[in-house]
Structure formats: C-alpha cells, structure tokens
Symmetry: C2
DNA sequence: CCAATAGATGAGAAGCTTTTGCATTCAATC
DNA sequence: GATTGAATGCAAAAGCTTCTCATCTATTGG
C-alpha cells in the first residue's frame, strides 16, 4: 500500500503524505494543482496546510512518484507517475486534458536532439486546442 | 520601420513601445523575459516602468508581433514572431535555447488532434536536455 | 498650431502561486 | 517509553505579473 511507496522514497510515513498519496490515487482528475489537493484535503476534513501540500508534492516528484507539468495558465499540475511517458493535449475552452503517446514523435525528438547536440533529459509536448465535446461547446 | 508595425497593431506610437520593439529586434538573445527587457531598457537609460513592459509585451502578443512561451522555471519568455512556427530545445544546465521544426512531428500532432477530437489552436513542444557544448560542460 | 480626448504611462499597491522560517509535534529507533 | 532528527502548520516572505489611479501624451479636428 501507500506506506511502502513513501518509505521507499526515503520519507517518514506521516498522515499528510499518506492522505495526499491516497488522494492522488483515487482522484477523478489525473492532473491536479497543489491548490486542488489542498481543497480536497479540506473537503475530507484533513487539517493539512498548503505549505505541506507543496512540500509533499515536491518530495513526491523528487522521488519519482509524481510528475509536475507546467501548462499555460501559470500554475503547475501534478499527476501520479504511472511509469509510462505521455504527452498532453489541453482544451483551451474547458480545460479538459487528454494524454497520448506517439512513437514517431518520440523518435523524431531523439533524432533532433542528436543533431543539435543535446542529450535529452525530458520533454514536454503540449498541444492546445478546442475539443469538440458537447459539454465544452456549451461553455465556449 | 517599427512605427508602422505598432500602428498596424492598433496601438499608439509611443516611446516605450518603439524602444521595446527595437530592443527585441536587436537583441542577441531571441528569448527574453519581461525582466530582461526591463533591465535592457534601464541599461539604455530609458525610464520605462516594469508594468509598462508587461503591458506592452502583452499587447504585442495579442497583436501577433511576439510569442510568449512558458518554460519550466516558472516565468515567461517572449520572442519576436518571425512568422514561422518552431519548437524549442532547452539546455537544463546552461539555459541555452535552440529552435527546430520537424514536419513529421507537425503532421503527427495534427493526426493525434483529429483522432482525439481537438481542433488545434497552438502547441508547445519543449525538449529539455543537456547540451554537449564545451562552455556548458565547464559550467555543469 | 492649439484644444480636446481617448489612450498610455509610472509608481506603487495588490494578487497569485510557491517557498521559507520557526516553534511545535511526531515517527522512527533503541 | 525516552530520544532525536525529521515533518508540520502557520504566518511571513518571495517571486512574477496585474491592477489602480493620477498624470501625461499621441492623435484628431478645428
């Protein structure tokens, strides 16, 4: 369970860390901001400070448990690292996020980095667009 | 010259706007932050406030004169829009930025958006890595 | 060329997200 | 159960960016 993941990360098993990890695992949204997590904790009657949420998420990121992404609106979102890399497509109207992986793109990136003399550590491909979802149309 | 570009954008031709546009056109770095612009203005004995720099850059962005990018460190950088789209590869050690365009990637993105039901408005592909430049190695 | 006016500016305050300092509390260890 | 270094909560602080508002200016028409 969560305890072990936390322990493996070299962190003490504390209530905030367990709760936050549970939250991430059970959350409907895969991409949540620190603020989102904080609000969910409040809603679950957990008395955990926002500073702790940031600290814990950062530690989780360092431990490779979660990934941090910077979308356009300025603040960061976190998602559980399920091990497999993927990119994102974000709806500019409703904020919906979908994930995808494209081997061709991955290969081309590698090729480009080679040509330009870079050793890739990571990359972030985000496509912004308008999704053609019914619900979205109503909002836009 | 710059005056006309500014006028075409529907903006009054004022000293701050002309100076900022000149700066962007003559700058060695293609990617500058608002703070960078502000410092360059100070260095050129221009008495222009930071708020104005932000306002002007935002207006230039709306007018399509510059593009705004969000790299990982939180703050935004602006670059003159030379009309042709390109992506970025950023060195995590020395901060160097190179640009590239890859038609295959562009096509695949379009295909992915189609499949997922999105109408692309824009995208941001940033590869992070370590460049193999001599100068960079010394720093890292 | 001057007057009128809508828009632009500068300075500082305010807003947001994120980080930090510090006294208190707690998990791990013996 | 006592010890101890790590973790927490709160409030304060720190970036970056936006806003407020009084002052100033580019544009326009007379």
């Amino acid at each position: 369970m969560e305890d072990q993941e936390i322990r493996n990360a070299g962190l003490k098993v504390t209530a905030p860390r367990v709760k936050i990890l549970e939250l991430l695992e059970n959350s409907q949204q895969r991409h949540v901001s620190a603020e989102d997590v904080y609000r969910m904790l409040l809603a679950a009657d957990q008395d955990i400070g926002l500073a702790t949420v940031y600290r814990v998420l950062t530690q989780f990121e360092e431990a490779g448990l979660v990934e941090k992404h910077h979308f356009e609106d300025g603040h960061s979102v976190f998602e559980l690292d399920k091990g497999k890399h993927h990119d994102h497509i974000v709806c500019v109207t409703c904020g919906r996020v979908k994930e995808f992986v494209d081997e061709t793109i991955e290969e081309r990136q590698q090729k480009i980095a080679d040509e330009l003399g870079f050793q890739i550590s990571e990359h972030d491909l985000v496509i912004y667009g308008k999704c053609l979802d019914d619900e979205c149309d109503r909002k836009g």
